[in-house]
Structure formats: structure tokens, C-alpha cells
Amino acid sequence: MIQNTHMSTLLQVAMPSAARPAVVAIGILYFAVVLTISVWAARKTRTARDFFVAGKGIGLVALTVASVSVSVSGFAFIGGPGFIYAVGLGAMYIVLPAAVTNVMGAWVLAKRMRLLGEARSLITIPDAIGARYRSRVAQGLSAVAILFGIVGYMATNALAMGVVINSIFGVGLGWGIWIGMGVTLAYSASGGILAGIYNDVFQGTLMALASVLVFLFVLKFGGGLGEISRTILAHDVAFLGPWGKLTPLAALSFFFVFSMGSLGQPQAVHKYYMLRDPLQLKWYPLLKTLGLVLVLLLYFSVGVGVKAFVLSGRLAPLASPDQATPALLLNVTPIILAALVFSGVAAATMSAANSFINIGAAVVTHDLPVAFGRRVKNELLWGRAVTVLIAIAAAITAQQSGAMVAFLGIFGWGLFASTLVPALAVGLNWQGATRAGAMASIATGLIVTLALETAAYRKAFTFPAGVTASAVAMVSSFLVFFIVSWLTRRGAPSEIDPDVRLVMEL
């Protein structure tokens, strides 16, 4: 949903043109580095395992930076600051969970996923669900759920790439989509997750650098956070209230969905398989949390800073909240900083797209065949082919009506959360969870999310303030998981293979 808010706002308001020589030059340099990394990675990718989980694994620092990169996406740079500008500090409840989510994921999932990968050579999240419940149906259901979520994420990411590339190079939205998706496809199909990871490292570093520089610039330009707050408090007291302009229920609901829901995001959870040495998990949550804090500095500082600058007349009123970052960059900051941030936004959308392309390809070529008791003979070859198909489908979908693409993107985060968190995160830590409970929970998450989002999209139903389809679907899925597992608990112990049980007990 972090991405979705960003994407849907990008759909409504095109970013202003940033096509200045410095921005274009840094944009070209950025793409050159991405392509260089991709060529290197392609030469190292020889097996399906290389393609989907980076073969023998990735080192701690590289994996951490890559994970930060796919976790925040472009929302941290454009949609997020705009959201703060619009509703005040209430928008912070989307990112405040970062204080607990990484270490929570480490305790709940990282060790068990990594050890399951070691014991069973697993390469996907549905693999883990299939192994835990000894059920091809559960694996297939989770694969279908992931595929639904990916369709939405990919279309919105493709569109966001088009918007950003058009803003940097002025090539038009359609060409922007094809160029962005073409470059992402080039490194996804050739170098698989290895190219993705090392491009994520480059992209994440770029994002962190841009974020810290913008944060420092805003504080200096505004005379410090105290001065910025004083300016806002003189004009708009509610903005700096603890909930901003949201209701307490809405703000807390954000916190719930983005904290508990983080345990079901495949782009982050999938990375646990890739750490070369499981013992390096020791420092993973600390490093990732610190990395996220750096990347999110821009989110807070631009949202609050631009509000103060507009209220004090130092910046012209914005045409829409999403203009907060572009307006600051193009009117106030040095152009080189603007160039860095625009490349950072392109980097963010491309890293997310790459990750989802790779996971989608694994679902199609690995999980769905396994669910039907079959195996694709050459997963690497088919993985590359499906990668191309997913990218083309996403680019074509992104050219469709903005409203439809926005709708597709809306339910991604919530769908992953409601279908995967109980069955995967709780199921890997509770031997009493049953196959029936997992399947019922995944099905509930899928059906409730799709039904409620569709009803809301068609305006057949309106939620009360503060309640979202994602939140309702997640609590429903949890409750169904507990109740069905309890009702079918007699068979639970016999449903777990000895090696999986050992991993659950360690």
C-alpha cells in the first residue's frame, strides 16, 4: 500500500518536467550503471537457483541495502511527503512501524525461512507454505494470492516508471513506460535476482544518499525543526497534532496494517532465503532498520518542511500535495540534488518492479506447476521467458486507464498481508496450526480483499472513517486461521514433517 498510495497519486497528477541538463546527465549515468551491473550479473547466472534466490547467497551488507531498497519504493520520495503535506503527522503512521517490523520479521520469519531453505532447497514463499503444511493446495493457493498482488503492483510500478522517466527525459508517458520496463526487463531476464540485488544495492545507496542530503538541506533552509514547527503551529495547529488531520482510528489502522502486514510482503520475506551465512542474521535487523531510517528522512523532512515553506510564503502554494517533493527540488534545492532524487525515484520504482517480476516468474514456473504435481523441466529458461511476458503485460496494462491501474495497485499490500501473514508467519511458529486453517485463512484473505476492494472501487460500499479493506481482510484472515485450526486441531501434529518440525523447534 505504501507503493499504491504513491502510484495512484502519480496517476492523477503528472510530475512536472525536470528535463534540465544536469538531471538528464545524472539520469543517463544512472542507467549506465544499472546496465553495467546487469551485464556482470547475467554472466554469473547459470541455474534456476541463481535466477530466483541468487545461488549460493548474498552477503549481509548487500542483502540489507537491497532489502531497504525494495521495502520503500518511490512512495518515500513523492507520495509520502505529499501525504504528510496533506494530512500532517498522521501520515507518519505508515512509516513509524519500521521501528519494529525488521526485527519482528527477523524473529518470526528470517531464521525459519533461511533454515527451511537450507534443509529443503526451497526457493519461494509458497514453497515454505507447502513444506510447512505438507500441502500442494496450500502452496498453490498462496501462489495464486501472490500472483494477484503482483499483477497490481507491476502495473502501477510500470506506470510510475513511465511518469518519472518522462519527467527526467521528456520522452512522453508511453515511451517512459516502455523504456523503464525495457531496462528493468533487461536486467531481470538476464541476471535474475542477482542483477536485481546488486542493482538494488546501487539504487538503495542512491536513495539513502539523496534522502540524507535533502533532509539536511531542508533543516538548514528552514532554520531547524523548531523553526519549521513554529511556522506551522502559527497557521495550522492540527497538522502537528499526534494524529495530524486523520482520525485516531485511521492513523492506528495504518500502523496495524503496515506493521503486522509487513510479515507477508513477498519482496522482503523472499530475501531471507538469500543470505549466504544464516549466522549473519544477527546484524540484519539493526542494519536494515538504520538503512530505512536514512531513506525515510526525506519522507518526513520534505512533507513537514514544504508545508512550512508554503505557509511562510517562501514557496508558492502547491497545485496538489504530490507536488511537494518536485516543487522543493525544482525551486529551492541545488539542481544536482534534484537530479539525485529524480534518479532515486526511478531507482525505487525499478527495484520494486524487478523484485516483483522475479517473484511472479517463480510463481508461474515453479509454484503453480508444483501445486498441480508437476515440475517444469528447465526452470531457468522458463523463468526468463515468463519474466519477459510479465514485464510486457505490465507495460501494456499500465497504458490503460489510470483509474483501472490505480485500482489494481490498491490492494497489493493488503492482499499479501491478509493471505500470507497468518499461514506463513504464525504457522511457522505454531505447531498447532493446521493445513485446513492455513487454506481457509489464505482463501479468506483473498476473497475478502478482492470483494471489499471491488465493492469500494465500484462505489457499492463505503467504509467508515479509519477502516480499510486491508485491515478488515487481515483481521478476518487471522480469526479464521485461529478458529479453523482450533476446530481441526486433532490432525495438527501429524501434518508436519520431521525436518520442518526441527526447524520450527530451533
Partner: protein, 175 residues
Amino acid sequence: MDRGVGNIAEDATKRVALVALFVGIAAIATGYAAAFNPRGTPTWAPWLLAIGIPVALVAVMILGAARGRRGIGTLKIPFAFVALVLVIGFGAALALPATEGPLSTLWLGLPARAAIVIYGVGLLPIIVLPVAYALTFETQTLNAEDVALVRALGRENQAARESAGAAPRDNELEA
């Protein structure tokens, strides 16, 4: 591993964590359900989320961290700390009167209630939880012995698959 005694302690810790997780989720669900009241959201509904969310989050962390006879060991301190920080942070934001104004005293650049949320809920757990995770990693989470045990199991599984004539899991190509 001492399975007998260990499992009893683990079961007790995990059972408590599961009950807490269920109660937390049920509280959140009740808070959402109350919002559908046609006369408006009751004032107690956000309190259910303010308490239910920390309970559910800490419960799921305990579920993941509990191990054998140690249960959660010394982690009970950071877990209790984080639960308290979240409940107090959300509770203060709900309970304290709105006194923000141009002349408000600022805490590290923010009005009091906002500072409690941003610095308390958003930053304090960062200082405590990842450090607690790292400091207890070998005893509570994973050590070289565990990894060796699982790797041996992995080799056995691989040998079993190969002797059964199954295709290699990763479909290795000939270079």
C-alpha cells in the same frame, strides 16, 4: 536439545503468546466493528487498537523468539519495554489534551504529543529491539550448532531425493 523439559516451557510461552495474539487481533477487530456504528465511532474504539496493536505485535515477536526451556529468557525485558512504549505512546496521544499552539513548548523541535509519538513510538524501539536481537542471537535465535544440524538434515534430504530419482530441485544447467 532437552526435548522433554524444553517443550513444556516452550509450550507454556507459546501458548501465552498465542492467546495474547488472538486477544490482540480480537480487540482490533472489535475496534473496527465499532466504527460501523451508524451513530459514529465510539470514543473507546481507538483505545482497542491502541492496546490491541502492541499486544498483537509483541505476542507475535514472542511466538517467533520463544525457544525450548529458555522460553524468551532475557528478551522479556525488551519485549515488555516495547509493549509499554507503544501503549503509553498511543495512549498519551489519545488521552492528553490538545494544547498545541504557536507558543507551545517544543520537545526536540516538535509539540509534546507529536514528540511522544514520533520519538517514542518511532525511535525508542529502534534503539532497544535490534540490539536485544543481536545480543541474544546465539543463545536465543541461532548458533553454529543449529546451522550444522540443519545442514546435515539438508544433505540427508538431498541424498534421499537423489536416490529416489527425483530431479534436482534447482534444475541446474550444464555450464
